[in-house]
């Protein structure tokens, strides 16, 4: 499998400037700025309710930001509708996986390649996903809703890869999975960033996610409170006290 090998982390892929967003009158994100460089893997960590999922929903335009700007590869896109975001190269694995339960695994993967530009690569990317997750090849004709949580997560990641994204957004991929399955999901994340995928991952599982990403941002009550290299965040006193229980 060949990931989209980018230049060494120099050019900014995703840039978020002073983003605010929420649901109706309920504001969740306050003035959030962050960036992800090509080839990097970055985590947004924080407790439940900090606004991590809202952040990813805003990046994919599933909710409309109330202030701030979104840029992908230098191109401002916050005025575009949600269904056009994936054509900029941003694919999201949503919270709770959100597979189509009564479609087969292969039909779910087909949905990931819906974009006209992706259809031409359908057969080739299907092989790539099956090489990454051999289990999916075995289950290709099975209804997605009948698989285990870990298998569904693999299918959801595979579906996002089918569009050939430049940036992969992962929303709590470890949520609700058995510890041993969580291990293998993080192994997949590590493998993808090693192959050159650019990944932005949102996680509560702080200790494990910081072992597989380059950098992290700490999001608390809708604001970025700290950021830095993974090792630094792991060593950060407030992070250790609040989240690692040491």
């Amino acid at each position: 499998m060949s990931g989209p090998h980018a230049n060494p982390a120099t050019d900014t892929l995703l840039r978020i400037d002073n983003l605010s967003a929420g649901y109706g009158a309920f504001q969740v994100l306050f003035d959030v700025s962050l960036e992800v460089k090509a080839g990097e893997s970055v985590a947004v960590i924080g407790p439940n309710g900090a606004g991590k999922t809202t952040l990813l929903r805003a990046i994919s335009k599933l909710i409309e930001p109330t202030a701030g700007q979104l840029h992908m590869a230098g191109q401002r896109y916050d005025g575009r509708p949600a269904h056009e975001v994936i054509s900029l190269g941003i694919a999201q694995v949503p919270e709770g996986r959100r597979l189509f339960p009564r479609l087969t695994v292969e039909d779910n993967l087909r949905m990931g390649a819906f974009l006209p530009a992706a259809r031409a690569h359908f057969a080739q990317r299907l092989e790539m996903v099956y090489a990454l997750f051999p289990r999916m090849k075995e289950r290709r004709a099975q209804l997605a809703g009948t698989m285990s949580g870990g298998e569904q997560q693999m299918c959801a990641i595979g579906r996002a890869l089918m569009s050939g994204p430049r940036l992969l957004l992962l929303d709590e991929p470890s949520a609700g999975l058995a510890p041993v399955v969580v291990q293998s999901i993080f192994e997949v994340v590590r493998k993808m960033s090693a192959e050159g995928y650019t990944v932005l991952i949102v996680e509560q599982n702080i200790q494990q996610v910081l072992k597989v990403v380059d950098r992290g941002y700490l999001l608390e009550t809708g604001r970025i409170h700290a950021s830095g290299a993974s090792a630094d965040l792991l060593a950060n006193d407030s992070v250790r006290r609040a989240y690692l229980g040491v």
Binding site: L62, H83, I86, Q92, R98, F100, P101, R102, L103, M111
Partner: protein
């Protein structure tokens, strides 16, 4: 005597089969729209009626040959289906189901009134006769045979479209999780519009097949609209395969029941079977799997 009885019985079964194919086509479009958009077009049979008038008008009044009038009808009713979604359904998508139903009921009366004003209440005949044929002592209607074959081809085409294409997959996916569709690059409004156009096109095709068999008048929708709706419910609303099976079951009740008793009794038996099924399996003959 027994052999004649058997041959007429067989004829009834065959006629039921032919009728079943046509009913399966009628229910497919309505069922597809309900399964995807979750709105019942009570006026679906009136779209077919408008299509029948379109063919009659183009052929007998404008002198178009049928091979031009019929494809035009399919496109025209397909466009009508898209317009139906855009201007009638879309504004009430978030409304209560009863309001959505009443709006499509309003379209039913609107279409009846408009066609009455345009064409009057007379029964209009296309003036085309497709010769029937005899198999042994059985006589089968040519128009019904044509309708059966065309309906089966259309259903097979729809099946392939839904299962083998990206848009078809999106049409099956959207009812399972509409909110997530933009992450796939799918514009849900566009999928709804395309589905409505396909549903309309299927109604246009049904109009082509019905106008070969029946005279058209403004109230003709009432003679097969309710049956179409009952078949969809019998198969489980939105369940395309269930609707397909139910169409053939229902047609056999009408045809074979009508053979043993009288034609009207065939309908009575079919509706009695429908009601019994609703008590026994309220979600349809092949109950649709519940959401996980």
């Amino acid at each position: 005597m027994a052999s004649i009885f058997d041959i007429f019985f067989l004829e009834a079964v065959l006629n039921g089969l032919l009728l079943g194919g046509l009913l399966a086509l009628l229910s497919l479009g309505l069922n597809l729209i309900f399964g995807v958009i979750d709105v019942v077009w009570i006026c679906y049979a009136e779209l077919i009626m408008v299509g029948m008038y379109a063919i009659w008008w183009l052929h007998t009044q404008q002198g178009w040959p049928l091979w031009m009038a019929m494809p035009t009808c399919v496109l025209f009713v397909g466009a009508l289906g898209a317009a139906m979604h855009q201007f009638v359904i879309k504004p009430v998508l978030a409304a209560e189901p009863i309001n959505q139903l009443l709006v499509t009921g309003g379209v039913l009366f609107l279409l009846q009134a408009v066609t009455t004003m345009a064409f009057g209440v007379e029964f209009r005949n296309l003036g085309v006769r497709i010769p029937g044929f005899a198999v042994g002592e059985m006589s089968l209607s040519g128009a019904r045979m044509v309708a059966f074959v065309a309906a089966m081809l259309a259903i097979a085409g729809a099946y392939l479209f839904l299962n083998r294409t990206f848009m078809g997959t999106a049409i099956r996916a959207i009812s399972q999780d509409r909110a997530i569709m933009p992450l796939m690059g799918v514009n849900p409004s566009r999928v709804y519009l395309i589905t409505s156009a396909i549903g309309g096109g299927l109604a246009g095709l049904a109009a082509c097949l019905l106008v070969l068999q029946y005279d058209v008048h403004p109230a003709i929708g009432l003679s097969f609209g309710p049956i179409t709706f009952l078949i969809c419910v019998l198969g489980g609303l939105g369940n395309l395969i269930g609707g397909f099976v139910a169409a053939f079951v229902f047609a056999q009740f009408i045809s074979v029941g009508g053979f043993f008793l009288q034609l009207e009794w065939g309908y009575v038996l079919a509706f009695a079977f429908f009601m019994a099924t609703m008590f026994w399996k309220p979600e349809g003959l092949l109950s649709k799997r519940r959401k996980a």
